[in-house]
Amino acid sequence: MDVIAPLRREWNRNGLLHVMVWPALFLVLLYHYGAMAGLLMAFERYVPTKGFFNSPWIGWDNYKYVIALPDTPRVIVNTLKISTMKIIFGLITPVVTALLLNEVRKMAFRRIFQTIVYFPHFLSWVIISGILMDILSPSDGMVNRLIAGLGGKPIFFLGDNNWFQFTLVASDVWKDFGFKTIVYLAALTSISPTLYEASEIDGANRWQQTLHITLPGIVPIIILLTTLSLGEVLNAGFDQILNLYSPAVYKTGDVIDTLVYRLGLQQFQYGVATAVGFFKSCVSLILIGISYFLAYRLANYRIF
């Protein structure tokens, strides 16, 4: 009965903690793990009347099909490039913004600023694409007029393969940095003021304070958000790209999800989309797992 005694000990010590977890765990098991049975569609020729457990098994056929498509290498490269840039700049921008905003003394300015930068989050990509087409127009768009004014040649942001990925990253950062800034600001406020006071006594200036107190204070959150966004590295932003891309920029703008989408228009099937999704999830898991492991071993920091 060696099983019962340790269980009883654990229960006595942490029983309440376990109970606190269980309601959420139940819901997640039911609605998320239960739904994972659907991942079987990736490996079978799903027939609705047969269900997930009785449809014919086709093994790796869906993967073979996608890998054999001529555009697959290109879309994988595009996906990785675009999402890596998005992760990097999607990290730097809100951090810098939060730090800069932290220096502002006027509360009113901070409040108004915080509200305004949250606006773009509410615009859908359908609307934003219309706006971007206007302001980025090489003939009469605002941005190119500015460039011309500075003596440069017009840039066809949405139509030039040399600039399309940049445009994707910039507009995506623009859309979401506001909400991330909120997170970092909240983290900033939880840095103890006494640390600042003590450093002032030691004669530190603002810059040194930022470097040695502020930044380290939010490093855990930075690592957390970055790790979680690593999980998105194969999602380059389907909604955005679908609205902004065109045959002119398939070369650099076509990503895994847009490819799968076009396949789905010609073929009513379940397997390919599920297979690709499953593959993406596995990659995310590996990346997050590695980050978690590294952070733990190297810095004794558990990300979550």
Binding site: V19, L30, P48, F52, N54, S139, G159, Y250, F268
Partner: protein, 567 residues
């Protein structure tokens, strides 16, 4: 503390049980018993109905469906899509109680996909060709007893095209859905040109394709306060079929040659000639350099701000000219013309005789024949509207002052294959002879259109009147459709079935390549000779395989040109 152990176990068990329950429910009940039940009930039902195809069900049966409808659909006061006078009428006339399992105004495809995948289909529903194909393969739709139940009127209605559209719904000799028949002739390619610009610039109306191209280049020389002016309209969907048709080229459809072989129209080496012309036009500034990234609505902004002078489209596309009439004055005088040609042979408009939707019946339905009865009633209401006024005009049973549309409330609506020909006959005639009685009296919408045309001709200018005039006047676009039909100015797609196996797998990739290549050539980023490498790549990447499958299909399917006689 111990007491908590049992509840914990209980919760755990409950979770596991729920999970198993959820998983096992996915297995369908043994198909055999369902089929048997359906079979016997169908046998009973058809035994009692066989003698009377239009006969009423007594007692009424429930027939479920799902709907996609316009959010601005008008209903009689107190009615909505789930409960209305039109639905009630089906019960009165046929003993069929219509019930919507759900009704949406957008994203119908997503919701249908979920319903299909979770095996929760209604009795009947609208499905696209790709979806129908899959459902037939997965044995989820019922075959329909057409011969026994379709009325003579219905059979005639669907046969004007020689039975093409019905064929597309036939798999292994069995009819698996009612096609949403439509008139392909309405897809006539028309070129709209700014007549006021032609007058201003002393240019004559185009007789040949060279003329049109020159007009485009001339338009590009215009100056405008709103910005640079262009000749041809073009957006990122690259819809240039009418341009190519003038060169007797038929991209993206399948073409049969004299020997009887079917090939993909885009592979015609003469495409390079037309592509070169497009490249030259682009270089001359006759095409918007940003066309590659703009969708139709965005590009239409140029049209609406007087910066594009030539637009290809079908007869309804004039609706996009939203700024033609401003403050009750015509400020953009658009002329509509048949497609000019590069030589003395007339240009043919490429059209497809396929349908966009099908009405299918779920395999589990107890009364598959009911859908044919719905179709019979619908046809009857179109041929003899006075017999079934509610279906066309709602509770009031007559057209109201605003001429609200009720027919869209009907769950199964199919259109006449010859509709456009008919409209193209009596509407222009009515205007020519100024005699509205030439229009069938039940076609209230068209009678109104006639009056709009008269108003316009009498000087009452607004967008609706102008549009009506452009379409329904003596020389309007509808009369052009009739002319085109009489002179056989149509080129029908030789392939009109559901996608073949390799098509489903590879066509998306091939089309992406085609669009990329065309965009690059027009932009001048690639020389026209690179089109040859596209053709080679197309064949290699699955195109040959697809061509073989299409030819195999064509061997057993009727030539779409065969049934092409008037009436």
């Amino acid at each position: 503390m111990n007491k908590l152990r049992y509840p914990a176990l209980a919760i755990g068990l409950a979770m596991l049980l729920t999970l198993f329950n959820a998983c096992s429910k996915n297995e369908a009940s043994p198909p055999a018993s369902t089929a048997a039940a359906t079979g016997s009930q169908t046998a009973q039902a058809s035994a009692s109905q066989a003698a009377n195809p239009t006969g009423k069900y007594d007692p009424s049966i429930e027939f479920t469906t799902v709907r996609v409808y316009d959010p601005k659909q008008y209903f009689d006061p107190g009615d909505d899509i789930d409960s209305n006078a039109v639905y009630d009428y089906y019960d009165t006339a046929l003993g069929i109680k219509l019930k919507n399992l759900w009704a949406v105004t957008s994203d119908y495809d997503s919701k249908l996909k979920v319903a299909i995948a979770s095996d929760t289909l209604p009795d009947f529903f609208k499905a696209s060709p790709v979806v129908l194909q899959q459902l037939v393969t997965d044995d989820m739709v019922a075959s329909l007893p057409w011969d026994e139940y379709a009325s003579d009127d219905l059979k005639k209605w669907v046969s004007y095209d020689g039975g093409i559209q019905m064929q597309s719904a036939t798999f292994n000799g069995k009819l698996m859905a009612v096609p949403e028949t439509r008139g392909p002739y309405g897809d006539l390619g028309i070129v709209y040109i700014r007549k006021d610009w032609l007058r201003e610039m002393n240019l004559s109306e185009p007789q040949t394709m060279d003329d049109l191209n020159n007009i485009a280049k001339a338009f590009a020389q215009r100056s405008s306060a709103n910005g640079k002016v262009f000749g041809y309209f073009l957006d990122k969907s690259l819809d240039l079929k009418s341009f190519f048709n003038s060169y007797h080229l038929y991209p993206k459809i399948w073409v049969k040659d004299e020997a009887g072989n079917v090939t993909y129209g885009s592979l015609d080496p003469r495409m390079k000639v037309a592509l070169q012309e497009l490249q030259d036009l682009f270089k001359a500034g006759a095409i918007d350099p940003e066309f590659g990234v703009k969708d139709k609505n965005k590009e239409l902004e140029l049209v609406n701000s007087d910066r594009v002078g030539i637009v290809y489209g079908r007869y309804t596309d004039a609706n996009g000219f939203k700024n033609a009439v401003k403050d009750d004055k015509l400020v953009q005088d658009w002329g509509a013309y048949l497609l000019p040609s590069v030589d003395d042979k007339p240009a043919l408009s490429q059209v497809n005789s396929s349908v966009k939707n099908y009405f299918a019946v779920s395999k589990k339905s107890k009364h598959p024949e009911a859908i044919i009865k719905l179709a019979n009633l619908w046809i009857d209401s179109q041929l003899h509207p006075e017999k079934h006024p509610i279906m066309n005009w709602g509770k009031t049973e007559k057209a109201d002052a605003e001429n609200h549309i009720f027919y869209t409330i009907n769950p199964l609506v199919i259109f006449g294959q010859a509709d456009h020909i008919n409209m193209g006959t009596y509407l222009p005639n009515a205007d020519k002879l100024k005699d509205p009685s030439l229009i069938p009296s039940d076609k209230k919408g068209q009678i109104k259109q006639y009056h709009n045309v008269q108003d316009y001709e009498n000087g009452i200018v607004n967008f609706t009147n102008w549009l009506a005039w452009l379409q329904a006047s003596e020389h309007g676009t509808m009369s052009m459709i009739k002319t085109a039909y009489d002179n056989n100015l149509y080129k029908f797609d030789a392939f009109f079935g559901a996608p073949t196996a390799t098509m489903g797998q590879k066509m998306a990739t091939l089309q992406a390549k085609e669009d990329e290549m065309m965009t690059k050539i027009i932009l001048g980023a690639a020389s026209v000779d690179e089109y040859d490498s596209f053709i080679a790549e197309w064949k290699k990447l699955g195109g040959d395989q697809i061509t073989a499958e299409v030819n195999e299909w064509a061997a057993t399917h009727q030539d779409p040109l065969a049934g092409r006689t008037a009436k």
